[in-house]
């Protein structure tokens, strides 16, 4: 498992999710802290493309050997793509949480919601 890292180019949600913003679209995933707390992910229950998801609401689940965890949407929008590769290799979420371990791509319904998210330093300050 990689060392702890919280890239500066991402925005963070208190439920340990990240968003990589690109205009009015974004990519979501879970943070290093989240995957570490969960342990080895064995199952990612991908939402459907086209699903509407709402900021601060669970939109999918990831499961490790020992636990299941809701994944919260850091922003609202419509799912435009899901990471199908995770069906066969869900452990990618542990190995590369900010890269190959991304979960969904979303067309944002309200890009101004980004202002409510934390930057890397703010998010790290919330972790013990």
């Amino acid at each position: 498992m990689a060392d702890p890292s919280y890239p500066d180019d991402l925005k963070y949600h208190p439920e340990h999710d990240w968003a990589r913003i690109d205009g009015d679209t974004a990519t979501f995933g879970i943070t290093w802290y989240a995957q570490d707390a969960l342990g080895e992910v064995v199952f990612f229950d991908a939402p459907d493309v086209g699903a509407e998801i709402s900021k601060d609401q669970p939109y999918t689940e990831v499961e490790s050997v020992k636990a299941v965890s809701d994944v919260f949407a850091p922003l609202s929008g419509e799912v435009t793509a899901v990471n199908d590769a995770l069906a066969d290799k869900p452990e990618t979420i542990n190995e590369d949480p900010y890269g190959e371990g991304w979960l969904v791509k979303v067309r944002l319904s309200d890009p101004s919601e980004v202002d409510a998210l934390m930057d890397s330093a703010e998010y790290q300050a919330t972790l013990d």
Binding site: M1, G39, E40, V42, F43, S64, V65, K66
Partner: protein, 358 residues
């Protein structure tokens, strides 16, 4: 029942912390749930050798001229069949057959037995045993503070321990005293993983030295997380999940360790359950396709999952559940409500994982 909130630590706490373990509260103890990762630790035990700190488990020693008669009265198995140096699994029941605990007992001498309790049940078991000792010429002694306990499990476990030992190891369901890594150890041919291996009982002061010797000899430290996935793959019961005081051993699938003819406490209720059948039975299941059922998930049409996890060896959701007896036969399709989603599963035969699969 203890109301203390302070967690107890085993003599190996410092070793766990140094090894990077994630420590969690378990039955009043601060125990390692994982070191490198549950899957990796699980596979180490299935293919090589792992070492577990199980010092949270309790021990009760029963000695005296009537030790055998006394335990025969309280434990479900036929203790007369356990020779000196033998080991035996049993349950302890209430009068109504409700299971108080499941236990391994070791016959150390003709009139000396050591019984290993589940950590969460130790005080309750001890009180139950002592409260029934009147009229028997026995001493029932709490020995939990006198022992630390390690489990060394896996196809290479015996080899590893043998090299540290001053003599041959006991066979399966046997026990003997040995010097292991220079320490006086009670070596037991038992375990909770479905693999070959031994369990070692030693003085708490000797635990760290033995842990170091065993890990330096190549054993992978394994936490409670993999202990749970390993035991569930081979359908070993976990008290509190798979049975408790509200279940009798027959519905829990533990009738094989109940010998009602011995007249143990609860034997009439167990005999009745065996003869009349029970409305529910504990069955192993495997999920068909994706999804992982967890403890407490309802079985659609009646019943409940008591243990559920992801099987690292079978790479699918597995578990045990109480279902109506009509649907308990091997091969029966069932459906489990996993957090609002219906997951199809099949009632399987024990064990879910067989060593021959390797």
């Amino acid at each position: 029942m203890s109301f203390t909130t302070e967690l107890r630590r085993t003599p190996l706490y410092d070793r766990h912390a140094a090894a990077g373990a994630r420590l969690v509260p378990f039955a009043g103890w601060e125990m390692p749930v994982q070191y490198a990762g549950i899957r990796e630790e699980h596979i180490a035990v299935r293919t090589g050798v792992g070492v577990f700190d199980v010092s949270h488990m309790g021990q009760v020693e029963t000695t005296g001229p009537q030790a055998l008669d006394f335990l025969q009265h309280l434990l479900s198995n036929d203790l007369r069949r356990m020779p000196e140096g033998g080991a035996q699994y049993s349950v302890m029941c209430r009068e109504d057959g409700g299971v108080l605990d499941d236990l391994f007992s070791y016959r150390l001498a003709e009139c000396t037995f050591l019984t290993v309790t589940n950590a969460a049940n130790h005080e309750k078991d001890l009180a139950w045993l002592q409260s029934h000792a009147d009229g028997f010429d026995v001493d029932v002694v709490d020995r939990a503070a006198d022992f630390a306990m390690l489990a060394v499990q896996g196809p290479k476990a015996r080899d590893l321990v043998r090299k540290l030992s001053d003599g041959a190891l006991p066979g399966r369901f046997r026990v003997c005293e040995r010097s292991v890594g220079g320490a006086a150890v009670l070596v037991c041919g038992t375990g909770y993983t479905g693999e070959d291996g031994v369990e070692l009982l030693m003085r708490p002061d000797d635990a760290s030295g033995l842990w170091d010797a065993i890990t330096q000899a190549g054993a992978t430290p394994v936490g409670l997380g993999a202990r749970d996935t390993l035991r569930l793959e081979v359908c070993f019961h976990l008290y509190g999940n798979d049975m408790d005081e509200n279940r009798n051993p027959i519905e829990a699938g533990l009738g094989w360790c109940c010998k009602e003819r011995t007249g143990f406490i609860g034997s009439d209720a167990v005999a009745a359950a065996r003869q009349d059948g029970t409305t529910e039975k504990l069955v192993p299941f495997a999920i068909e396709g994706q999804g992982i059922a967890r403890q407490g998930n309802p079985v659609i049409g009646g019943g409940e999952v008591t243990s559920g996890t992801f099987s690292p060896c079978l790479e699918r959701g597995i578990g045990m559940a109480y279902v109506s007896t009509a649907r308990a036969a091997e091969g029966t399709p069932i459906e489990i409500d996993v957090r609002g989603r219906t997951r199809p599963a099949i009632v399987e035969r024990k064990p879910l994982y067989k060593r021959e699969r390797r």
